[in-house]
Amino acid sequence: MKLVVRGGRVVDPSQDLDGFLEILIEDGCIAQVDEKVKGIRGAEIYEAHGMVVCPGLIDMHVHLREPGQEYKETVRTGTLAAAAAGFTSVACMPNTAPVIDNRSVTEHVMKEARVAGFARVFPIGAVSKGQKGEELAEIGEMVSAGVVAISDDGFPVSNAELMRRALLYSQHYDIPLIQHAQDLDLSAGGVMNEGEWSTRLGLPGAPGSAEDVMVARDVLLAEDTGGRYHVAHLSTARSLDMVRRAKAQGLSVTCEVTPHHLLLTDEAVSKSGFSTNTKMNPPLRSESDREALLNGLADGTVDAIASDHAPHHTDEKDVEFSVAPFGVIGLETNLSLCLDRLVRPGIISLSRLVELFTAGPARVLSLPVGTLEPGSPGDLTIFHPNRPVTIRAKRFRSKARNTPFEGWRLRGRPVATILGGTLLNRPKN
């Protein structure tokens, strides 16, 4: 089984590659990347003229909702959405029912992913048993079953001593701890960012400091322990600054940001007329926070863009703003949004964007993907850098429709996804 992709602009930030190159995939793995690959007799040829070809994209923060909430999303529909959108790898969060806090649930998720066959699924295990924040989960057992990181996402690790222990213990397996950084007392009752717009709308606000005090505490503990610490969906200027300083200090501290925090502010809650698709956690922040995040992308402080894909059923979201569940989906809008709103205006380069979706998250999670290094898995994403597209939730492969980007007209879109040398799809309109 051979596949040659040629004629496109190949961008692989893991090797500083950016040029018109050919790629040969053989037996599911990258075999050659060269101006003219050799030994292509019998190979299927994919002509990628006018396209960009890069390592298969990684979304390091998604909620697949399986097991337990299959009415929102399943491993199958979530990975189908990923494949349609150019993502060959996803890391899924453990806030399922039951929680991914042991070997058997981990194995179940991985088996469902293999059966579906649309994307590589890297489960993230819980930090604590049942995500209760009390005792450590069986981290070693989960790692041997395939878990690549630990997180109590959705339930911040509030207890500082548990955090310290987890940062120490996780070093036995050299995996990062991913924190949903939020002080639950400071954010109590908040349904949006505390600021001008919460004041105008009369909605209870959660201040940015709820995130900042947690990041500050955790960075100190990361310094004490030497553990690998990653901030999920970082959303404030001050938290970003703390990550920047921790990196300068040489600590193993990394972070991801979401497209919605990069492209929207809390004003969207008002502009959308209380749309519950502008309600997520952490909430959409102020314009100055948003600008700081954009700077963080450009200066290298941010390691990855991740969607925090959080599917909810339409009936759950179609309620009063205050009582709606937090979260929006993002897998099927990630790439087009970032191409149109980050690369096209020149906020970051195309290769930096590719890095944020490939080499960046691969480095954070120590994944074997996200590179075109010979011998790596033969995962490619082929996208058109400026073909127009309009976001229409009803066309999503995800089961969910809760996007704040409905109707956005963008330029740049995925064209084909290759997983382990197999061409999965050529998404249509």
Binding site: T199, G202, E320, F321
Partner: protein, 313 residues
Amino acid sequence: MTQEGWTRKDLIGIEDLSVPEIQLILDTAESFKEVSERPIKKVPTLRGKTVMNLFFEPSTRTRSSFEIAEKRLSADSLNFSSSTSSLSKGESLVDTALNLQAMAPDLIVIRHGHPGVPHMLAERIPAGVINAGDGAHEHPTQALLDAMTILQHKSQLEGLNVSIVGDIEHSRVVRSNIHLLNKMGAEVTLAGPRTMMPVEVEKLGVKAVYTLDEAIKGADVIMILRVQLERQSRMAFPSTREYFNLFGLTRERLKRAKRGVIIMHPGPMNRGVEIASDVADGPYSVILEQVANGVAVRMAVLYLLAGAFQEAA
């Protein structure tokens, strides 16, 4: 009387309204005031119209005011109240809305604890929706009746100094009043404990001060807000006694007020907490006029929206 110039199906908030729209409501209310002074306080204007009053929060004052306004306009009213956020246990707001719409009301008056609910309802059903208070967001008829009351004592709103004192954070009355007074050219000063002042409130075009004396000084109008004792879950102040010491309006403190100052309160009052009895019942108080004007303003709003509905139908 004319409904000319009114095109909205709903009254969700003051923030959306233009100055001519506010003026139209106030003028219309002024002409309805006369109805309440007749021996037979009833006009046939809304005969055959159905108005539903949905109160998802306890409210005696606002609900009665709307009910009286509806009766004086000869509308058929239906009242639903519930202390939870749905009318029937477990029913979603959207289902509630669809069920109500099936009964084909012309107008719906809604009070709800969550901001945005009247907006949500208005988007989904053809009936006109009147916001009778949504969480800490807006309470447009209150701001309108406050404006009407001020205008009975002052020749115009433009250039007036209006101080609003109390629990700013949890008050929908404040937000609607800020929008209305700003649009009409008044200067608004807010005062209250720092723990009850919402962040970045200056961006709404007001000044924030943190002593009662600063709020009193130079004010033409002082509005005292109800301290929402039931909403103080966030450690905002230690006791009602301390509140009264810092921000309770007393006759002694009023000595520093400008001549001709008027004192307002949207009710219900906590005497001895935010306002002393001798001030509430004293010569500057216009609190009972507010109540009377509430009926006229609500008649005006019902009348204007019913007309808009007719044209749309």
